[in-house]
């Protein structure tokens, strides 16, 4: 046993043991969980700051766009639209749910178009649609910010460790979505084609294979044309461009087939071509084919295409060009453009293999027609 005063080693040993004892006591009273919550909360708060910055920037850009185009009350308009709600139709009674959803979506679309027309009556459709898209992006960023803030505050208020953990774990995906929207706004304002414009671009290319066809308006925002291809009558449908617009391809296909608008008789084959989300690991711009209606609307347009094909017994083929969610709303990347050229060749092969000369083929280039005219 040592005699006299304690050595330095004794002091270090005493402090270390005391620290470990303290740590064990803290572990028993749940301090580790509180510390973990604090760390997650800190990270979510930092991300929330970024979401707020993205939303504020988008709102400022949209307001600036409105001011530059002579809007009468830009602030009021942004404030009205950024908090816009569309209440989902009743789904425990599914009868005519598609009709009800279609009605709600049409009402929303027409209302926003009407608001913009009243604000800027002398501006052309292209400018108004560009502003409509900017408002849509501001709305999306504001919603992301509000939802993340809601879950953060709820988890803190109720001391819900699991809720905060889920929020923290999903944060990288939400951040990716927010970043995509933020970057997409600049591309939309420039008016360049985006990844999602690949469908309308293919319809445009097919239409201009042998000269300039005459396009007719089927719906306010959807156009169609008839051309000759390898002895077949090819009817092409796309959203009108080059404004930012997805049109109503389902309505157009239904009208063309039901009313035989081009006097060509019933199509022998229907093809939809669209951008589709790739799985991680798949290459951007890779092409795949199959059956079904390739369209990413909430339902009303897709069901019209499916019902028309089923009612008339028309084979419904599809060609998709794969890309990431962010790439679909960024300016079109070279890989996607090249994928579009490959898809075009695939479509030509399908038409030649599955129809004969004299047959009618209906092709819809689905997607946003921004930067692609007709």
């Amino acid at each position: 046993m040592a005699t006299g005063g304690a050595s330095l080693a004794d002091w270090i040993s005493a402090i270390s043991q005391l620290a470990f004892l303290l740590i064990f006591i803290l572990l028993f009273v749940g301090a580790n969980q509180r510390f973990q919550m604090y760390m997650w909360g800190k990270e979510v708060r930092a991300a929330l700051g970024i979401f707020y910055k993205y939303y504020s920037e988008a709102e400022e850009k949209t307001r600036d766009l409105l001011v530059r185009n002579g809007a009468k009350r830009p602030k009021t308009l942004v404030d009205r639209i950024k908090d816009y709600v569309v209440i989902s139709p009743v789904d425990i009674e599914p009868t005519d749910i598609i009709r009800r959803l279609d009605h709600l979506l049409t009402t929303e679309r027409n209302h926003i178009k009407d608001l913009l027309l009243r604000e800027m009556p002398d501006k052309d459709k292209s400018t108004r649609y560009k502003i409509e898209t900017s408002l849509g992006i501001t709305y999306a960023l504001y919603m992301l910010y509000k939802i993340v803030r809601h879950y953060l505050l709820t988890s803190e208020k109720t001391n819900n460790y699991i809720l905060l953990m889920q929020l923290k774990l999903i944060l990288p995906q939400i951040m990716k979505i927010a970043e995509s929207y933020r970057k997409a706004l600049d591309d939309f304002v420039k008016g360049a084609p985006i990844g999602d414009s690949i469908g309308p671009l293919i319809a445009y290319r097919l239409a201009h294979t042998n000269g300039n066809p005459e396009w007719v308006n089927i719906d306010e925002d959807t156009v169609a044309a008839q051309v000759e291809f390898e002895g077949r009558k090819l009817i092409l449908v796309k959203a009108s461009g080059p404004e930012s617009n997805v049109g109503r391809p389902g309505v157009a296909i239904e009208e063309i087939v039901e009313k035989d608008l081009f006097k060509t008789g019933k199509p022998k084959l229907m093809i939809t071509v669209d951008a589709a989300l790739k799985l991680e690991g798949e290459e951007t711009g890779s092409v795949a084919e199959g059956v079904g209606a390739a369209i990413g609307d909430p339902g009303p347009e897709k069901i019209r295409i499916e019902r028309t094909a089923t009612k008339h017994g028309i084979p419904l083929r599809t060609v998709i060009i794969k890309m990431g969610m962010d790439e679909a709303i960024y300016a079109m990347r070279e890989e996607i453009y090249k994928g579009g050229i490959e898809a075009l060749e695939r479509i030509k092969t399908i038409i030649k293999e599955e129809t004969s000369e004299g047959d009618t083929v209906l092709l819809a280039g689905i997607g946003n027609s921004i930067g692609v005219s007709q």
Partner: protein, 90 residues
């Protein structure tokens, strides 16, 4: 053999390791994200008569199908494609 349980220096090192890893957690949580490669938009134009293609930087107002003027004897110069390419870092 080294007595790790009763060696105060080793105990102290463990304590330092604990404090160090806590500080690392704090620092790591605030680190910046990886940046994307910069890209630029290019416009490809084509002469309808000769089929000659020209590539230039995108200008606001460009869209696919836009007629830019005449070319050849009776042809039209039309925008054929617009896409973004990676800017190669030197």
């Amino acid at each position: 053999m080294l007595d790790t349980q009763n060696n105060p220096v080793i105990q102290f090192l463990f304590l330092l390791l604990l404090i160090g890893s806590t500080i690392y957690l704090f620092v790591q949580s605030g680190q910046a994200r990886k940046k994307e490669t910069p890209r630029k938009l290019v416009t490809v134009t084509e002469c309808s008569e000769t089929g000659q293609e020209t590539k230039r930087d995108f200008q606001e107002g460009d869209y696919i199908g836009k007629v830019l003027g005449s070319c050849g004897e009776n042809g039209q110069e039309i925008i054929k494609a617009i896409y973004s390419v990676e800017i190669k870092q030197k």
